[in-house]
Symmetry: C2
Subunit: 491 residues, 2 copies
């Protein structure tokens, strides 16, 4: 027995024991102090630079290369957090953050995260925290109701849309290689558009689909997948002896929020072979908008799809991570993702879900709590009003762009996302326009006042302004536009 | 343009705007109230039932089937949290929680989670939060230093060991199917032991290895993988034209904390073919113990391994999720996991890591902060003292078991994990012993005073008591043992 060869020191001093046993009064004091900082931060985040102005590696240089041997006081750690870490943060909840997509936090969600961290419960199976499992069932049903998903979809929280899409593609792969048909994975094809999120092609590779079998179906001038080309490519692939196994359609692409034509895609898949390709809908960002009756069209056709993911942690005021994955064929999911072992066996199986069997990680945080807090604190109507307002602000900005002769809009403004570029009259050299707009973005981001993430649309370098933070008002958007116009005129 | 067909209501009332704009004073009040609850909970968690006594589905019945249309006051939500959710929680930080493996929270870690939730930063690339990326580099270097990992391992935080093992197996698969050799995945074999965590075989299936190519190498009487059998199986597979692609060795198995013989495994792999199989070490639980000089032997041979995972969120006082993945061949990892797209391009690439390219999810929480808080607040020496004390308590319990004629130990006690069963003299019917011990576990768990997760060892139903919570003292272990003896005598 190894421990006999290596006798253990048994010293466990009273001081060590005391340091380890949580001092409730001390924790209370420190937590209240942290709350004061949190409140102050939320109140003043708009006064900070959105993004720090730092050379890569400069924070690291300020930190020791080895951990301390002895305990340090919490006050010193919190002081370093404020002076070393904070100046190096990009503030995703800054009202001038118009980059990527929003990653909202909100007071009820933060309160829930405080409770989740305190409970530290593992939500891998029902028995390891029954209330967490059942609240996840309930909140997923609430979301399905809000999205007006057709009967037959069951929801589960995944950490991210990238992981959820991987889950969908693995389930699809297994359907075509193991369970419903014994094809070789080398013969399977996956279809998506070049405008899909980069994680889709990555997920297809991770699921083991050969890279040369990942087909990018060209888009129309509005950056949505062309169903006629999808049908053609599928037919050609079938003729070549290949087997179409999955299509990932996007509702709200990352670059320009384009919506792939789901009804046509599903119709094509319904007749694409003896075994229908799995249709997964990546609505990571824009899915939230589908809780608006006038925006529900973006999920039209979902009754022909097999799975759908959207991120309440983007535009629905829930802290990251909280990705809602809805799937029709739960037995197929469990077939691919269940992990059974005796130490995990439990008598309730079949009655309530063990969510460790519904995704990649065995361990899971209690993420339903923040979703529940947010949905109740705001209610559906306020969330709808917020989404409408953000969409209105995007259309307003689009109108300002259209009215300005020196600017050019590069895509339809949808879901608060506006893509455009500076295009002074007379300047028509493509490379020069790209360079000019790249300088513009860099200059805007360097200002520390706003943050934009550029993209390319139809080969053109594009500014991309994404509106979706709960505090973003017309005044903020106006300020951003004025800054863009002013900066463009200067460079 | 779709929005023209569906004119949006523009109503965004001042009341709605006010509700959405965080009221800092209200948040401060509510957060302080939540802190009071948190402190009180941490102080009284030991007085609660470890596990609720509830029928599956009973919490769900108490919740409405649809979300509220209108906002609800935070006070009502917090009240429901206390009265509906709390009675349905299993308390992983209860001092009587001896189930699974520990999933510690600790005051410094909870404080860090409060800050992380407030910042809501996305840590997918350096620029999206520079300080988070650089702190992740630094804290991973601290952990590598603590584990005395050989030069050449680079660390990155993954969410769970299950996901980290999937990352390892996908990287290994791609090495053998794409980059270093163009084998077909159907011809690849993966080796692990039947005592490996259930997630290992699941991960191998998810990575696309054919289920019939996942080899379970039998263990010795101490439940560690037999290297002689591994060598035999590999040789047979090679003779059959198959290609050994990966071995997952466990340092601290889930059932009994057995340690697979890593030096021999690595030696076998070094000569196992023209391309060495990828050796991944799953030290999810026991890896923390390797920061003790006298326990470092569990990682002996790691210089021959390709990757290693251990979970600071288990036994190192860091809130879930925080899984430390160390990998030698970073270019191979990036080859499999990088997702490149223009909107993600950034000028610093190559200088600092973009961790979205180091794992499955694109989005990532700021998890290095809690690790930093914990390592600094306790320091290496206190963490070492705690681990030693837990190991001592396990050996103490093992001694009590050994001294008791009615009980029988079923495995070496290691890392605070003790496996044993009630075995009254004269009762030697295997099925009767299993039934007796199953009744014992059920009765103990139903008491609400302690929680054990049973397992099977060598075909025998075994009690399994896992010590590792920061508050667990000798008195707690004594109380648990007394309860076990008393209950066993009664049933």
């Amino acid at each position: 027995m190894a421990t006999e060869e290596f006798p253990l020191p048994t010293e466990f001093s009273p001081e060590t024991a005391q340091l380890l046993r949580p001092d409730i009064d001390e924790f209370r004091r420190q937590a209240h102090e942290v709350v004061e900082w949190m409140a102050e931060y939320l109140g003043r985040v708009g006064e900070l630079r959105v993004q720090p102005d730092l050379a890569p590696g400069s924070i690291r240089l300020r930190l020791p290369v080895t951990p301390p041997e002895d305990p340090e006081p919490m006050a010193a750690i919190l002081a370093d957090f404020r002076t070393v870490i904070m100046p190096g943060m990009t503030h995703w909840n800054h009202p001038g953050f118009f980059g990527f997509f929003p990653a909202n936090t909100s007071p009820p969600s933060i309160l829930a995260e405080m409770l989740t961290a305190t409970l530290g419960a593992q939500c891998m199976s029902w028995s390891t925290s029954p209330a967490a499992t059942e609240l996840e069932q309930v909140t997923m049903e609430w979301l399905a109701w809000m999205l007006k998903l057709p009967e037959g979809f069951t929801g589960v929280i995944q950490d991210t849309a990238s992981a959820a899409t991987l889950v969908a593609l693995v389930t699809a792969r297994d359907r075509f290689t193991k369970f419903e048909a014994p094809h070789r994975v080398e013969d399977l094809t996956v279809y998506t558009s070049p405008e899909a999120n980069s994680s889709v092609a990555k997920d297809a590779r991770l699921a083991g689909f050969p890279p040369e079998r990942i087909r990018f179906v060209e888009t129309d001038e509005g950056f949505a997948m062309r169903p006629d080309l999808l049908a053609e490519m599928m037919a050609e692939d079938r003729e070549a002896g290949l087997v179409p196994a999955a299509v990932v359609a996007t509702a709200g692409t990352t670059s320009s929020a384009a919506v792939d034509p789901l009804p046509e895609i599903c119709r094509i898949c319904a007749t694409a072979g003896p075994l229908k390709p799995w249709v997964h809908v990546d609505a990571a960002f824009a899915g939230s908008a589908a809780i608006l009756p006038e925006m529900r069209w973006i999920l039209e056709g979902v009754d022909g799809a097999d799975s759908l993911v959207f991120n309440p942690h983007k535009w629905l005021l829930v802290n990251f991570d909280c990705s809602a994955y809805f799937v029709r064929d739960v037995p197929a999911l469990l077939r691919s993702f269940s992990a059974s072992a005796h130490y995990l066996a439990a008598p309730h199986q079949g009655v309530v879900p063990d969510y460790r069997d519904w995704g990649i990680p065995l361990g899971r945080r209690f993420r339903a709590l923040k979703l529940w807090f947010v949905l109740r604190r705001y209610g559906v109507k306020v969330l709808q009003a917020m989404l409408r307002e953000h969409i209105r602000l995007g259309e307003l900005l689009a109108a300002w762009v259209d009215e300005s002769p020196a600017f050019e809009r590069l895509a339809t403004a949808r879901f608060g996302l506006v893509c455009f570029r500076h295009h002074p009259s007379g300047e028509d050299d493509a490379a020069a326009l790209d360079a000019r707009n790249e300088r513009l973005v860099n200059s805007l981001n360097a200002s520390g006042k706003i943050l934009l993430t550029p993209t390319r649309l139809g080969g053109k370098y594009s500014l991309r302004l994404s509106i979706g933070h709960l505090t973003t008002s017309e005044a903020e958007v106006r300020r951003a536009w004025d800054l863009i116009v002013e900066t463009a005129g200067r460079i």
